[in-house]
Symmetry: D2
């Protein structure tokens, strides 16, 4: 993802000027730097000391996120960081507090908000064209699972996969009062052995009364799926999964379309747009479109989902809108 | 529905000969009889005493189903009856026992099993083309709600709406170990006033491990929806909602299709096919494709859903395949 | 087709009562009669002498059409006849004149007018919703060619295939001033050997100024295609080819749908509806929806197409609406 | 288009470095230069004298194309030029000869070849997956017409619109032996007044025997249409028009999708990819993917279409593959 973001910044973000790529692995740093014709180094510390630099984009293993955010905040650099901020709540809160204290901007990589399809749907929902929301339904499914090594360090299914859907749910429909999650390890015993799952259904009850359901899978097999439906009193909107190409191939008795196979294929625009929006927020001193508090809210919802699955019961949540965003708290736990 | 079935039997079921229509309301009986050029009467008793008659189709208010089935069974008539057999468990069991005791056939009106789209999907699942099932997802939504009068006597949301989806779930994927239901009254306070709901999400865990979710609504607004997806290890199948006509209408910047608005539009074939299959089962002494035991299983799942929603907890079920079908029992209740 | 029409009349046309099936081949007559539980015979002459009979449906080889129509007209029977009336113009005209003289109804089997999709599109065009028509485009393609024996006796490509599209063009858009046809024998030399073609493009200029193009094939391979687009000043309408079932089958990287493979699959309703409409016209003494004159107009357009292809030039047509329909005349030939 | 190409070169073509924008209008030159942070000038002459520059992209009114190509060739600069090279044949030939003489590369802006959808389809055709081609069908339609001022200087309908389809036809299927064009001015008398048309159908017969039809319109109304179907002996491929967003909007009884409205929306990738491919050809000394000879062939086909329409007859063409591409010659004219 670091490479991808670097290439986006170099080639597709008019409001940003990529000046340096940093990777602890010298070979990688050098290769990416050379490919993009950009200065490279292995020192994050040097980077944040560089006064000519306004902002950093962090795409490293999750365990380093919070510390790097705090260091960057200390140096007064604005930060774009991949989700989640941390696999633990405390460092998440501390990282957010550090950026707030330093008065710097922190944007989290919930890219779906920047996809033109989702943005169009959400914009019409906000304009009231859908009326009151009754039902929210979304699917996020990977074609094939990552390695078991990755799974072990992923923080678990919800924080690795569902977190995007929790953010989408909050963004499109609003805050969430109740969560109940159901999971299963179906494709491979290895998931159960590391106490993880490969398929999940997550029920939501929104504060406005609407019902919601998220379905997730690591083993969809046919392709990468990311699609949503929101049903309302005036209209219903569906964001579809596109074909890989706008092409039908017809053979005897059958018409076939190629399915997208990865998030990179599905989101040709969103990953670039989120960085451009971040750059614009930095340049023009605007609020970032996805905050640390949004990341914390999604994190808390993942925790609630996990608790719900373990205890086989719905988990209620309290949320309070404050100065800096929404604080979630699990009721009665 | 009685009229519709009568017309189907008269015009579209080569294996059946419609000989008489019966309605307690003489005006209705006469009108339908005249329209179809068929003998009519107001006496169900006369009907089942008629030795020239092999079978009866019952499409009356649910409260009469069980008694009429028992009467017909007593007279040795095979019975096709609309779902549910009863709003209570005991009469359901008794009606089934009566038909079993009399050695007559009892088929229940789960029409979806006879739709070519669903039948094609299920047939491929059974052939193993899908591999192991991971996820089952189905929607059944009405465009507009029925009258509150109807709602009050409907036996509640699950037994009136979800029952079809429970049958579909069992038919396509298999028996169900766990149910959890979430409901809400969102469109009109009148639903809450009669302690009913207008939208629901029902979670399922199948005995084979697969996860499932049913979404139902009485107020979809845009049209009648009945669509399903089953995701498996080898393939995934989706049964779509068809357009009302195979026609696109393009105006500046937009391409539109007409949506089906009712179950009658959605199922031009299934309602006729279920009766023809019943007639064939009677003529050739074959097993009926949907049994009283199937109806009882779906009924028990509705009860579990209701209990789950009331107690805000998942409800586990035990099921045992016996001589006459599947017996469900709620575990620990 | 005879069998199919007989079954439709027996089972799906409430306004008709099928009383007898006639086939010169006793085995066929007996089999169909027995299957439908209907009287059968081998004598058309007996049939038309039967005073209890109001109308006959003719589905025999084209070479017998005109004579049987004339005989039926002589006996005062209304006639539904498959297209074309004849492979020659003179017998076509004579058959029409005979029915007109006898004051009986003659309906020709242009079934597409009775399909709900086409009917919906045409109805909106007539209501003015499309505005002025600019472009008409239609495809009619068979999956596989018939036998060469059939081809030899078919009267040639245009009269066997394109005739349906000429009727559709006239019905949806209006009369035609100019035709130019291009053909090729591409899949098999046998087509060229019998001086026929297997693929064609036919250009149309309508009297109202609109342009049109028909494409036809005997060897589409992937399935049976029948679809149309009409582009107008206010809107554009597309009648699509439906899927065989409303089902998508997803395997790694691909989503597939089954294509319809034959006209029987494509038109589950139209073949029945045309007979029911004919029966209604007979019962209620209404005008038939497709007249002999419509058949003659389509025939003349086929002749113009053939001439155009042979002489490699556009052929202009004059048409005059008279008492009994539209008379076409090739200008300057 | 100049602005758009400049932005593409600046932001999306890693193999090109945009160094200067030139426009005869100082205001425009300055504005574009400032927007892109690039040097600007009003002198094409200065530009081609600049030794640090390898190549120029020409996007000016057609009447200047040929001269600028010749000048650039004289200065040894590689040239990318928008279609057509000229509204006349002689300057087209001279421009091509000049580039050939100077040993520089000339690429013409037939962008559709660089769209992923069309490229995927063509690639499978070339791989033989389609078998022998029977039918080629393509639509290119603008939502709304340009100004009459533009129409007057456009060189006529075929050279302004159909030229893209001729190139696509040659690219996907092969050389063309026969052309016949039909046109009409339907939406506005102003088209007829300038002796132009607003709708056209163009028939093609390919050298390999396949039939083809192009339909074009300046007044499609509903949106911008660019879609193709190629039917072959083994398979058929369809390149569809995409939705504007992957979103369905459902209101009572209707499901709607937004249609693309312009070529800019339809081709988010192709216009950038053609420039990147040109840059790659220059950098690595590879053949350009679309040559001046391709432009000449498309020009000649436009001329044939025009002649055919005027003389109301099919026009035959001879083509000869030579050292430098394909030379078309109208047979018997």
């Amino acid at each position: 993802m670091g490479r991808y973001h670097a290439a986006s910044l170099a080639g597709y973000c008019p409001s940003a000027e990529l000046v340096r790529v940093v990777d602890a692995d010298e070979t990688v740093a050098q290769e990416v730097g050379r490919d993009l014709g950009i200065e490279w180094s292995t020192s994050f510390n040097d980077l944040i000391k560089d006064e000519s630099i306004d902002a950093v984009v962090i795409a490293v293993p999750t365990s380093f996120h919070a510390d790097l955010i705090i260091e960057a905040a200390g140096a007064g650099k604005h930060v774009f960081c991949e989700k989640p901020i941390s696999l633990e709540r405390q460092p998440t809160v501390e990282a957010i507090a550090a950026t707030r204290g330093a008065g710097i901007k922190l944007q989290i990589g919930f890219h779906r908000r920047f996809d033109p399809d989702w943005a169009a749907a959400t914009s019409r929902i906000r304009a009231g064209d859908l009326g009151e929301v009754y039902l929210f339904r979304t699917s996020l499914r990977d074609m094939k699972p990552p390695t078991m090594e990755y799974i072990k360090g992923s923080g678990g299914f919800f924080i690795d996969v569902t977190i995007h859907d929790f953010d989408t749910a909050r963004w499109m429909v609003g805050e969430i009062d109740e969560v109940m999650a159901f999971g299963a390890a179906l494709s491979d015993k290895a998931f159960a052995e590391v106490e993880d799952i490969d398929n999940a259904l997550i029920f939501l009850r929104f504060h406005n009364g609407a019902l919601g359901v998220i379905d997730n899978s690591r083993v969809a097999g046919y392709g990468y799926e990311c699609s949503t439906e929101v049903m309302g009193s005036k209209a219903t909107v569906r964001v579809d999964n596109p074909s890989r190409v706008h092409m039908q191939w017809l053979t005897p008795g059958q018409a076939a379309r190629a399915y997208v196979e990865s998030f990179i294929e599905r989101y040709p625009i969103a990953y670039r747009a989120e960085l451009e929006q971040f750059a614009l927020a930095v340049c023009d001193d605007l609020p970032v479109p996805v905050t640390g508090e949004d990341a914390l809210a999604a994190f808390d919802l993942c925790t609630a989902a996990h608790l719900s699955m373990q205890q086989r019961r719905p988990v209620s949540l309290r949320h309070e809108s404050g100065l800096h965003g929404v604080a979630y708290e699990m009721a009665g736990t």
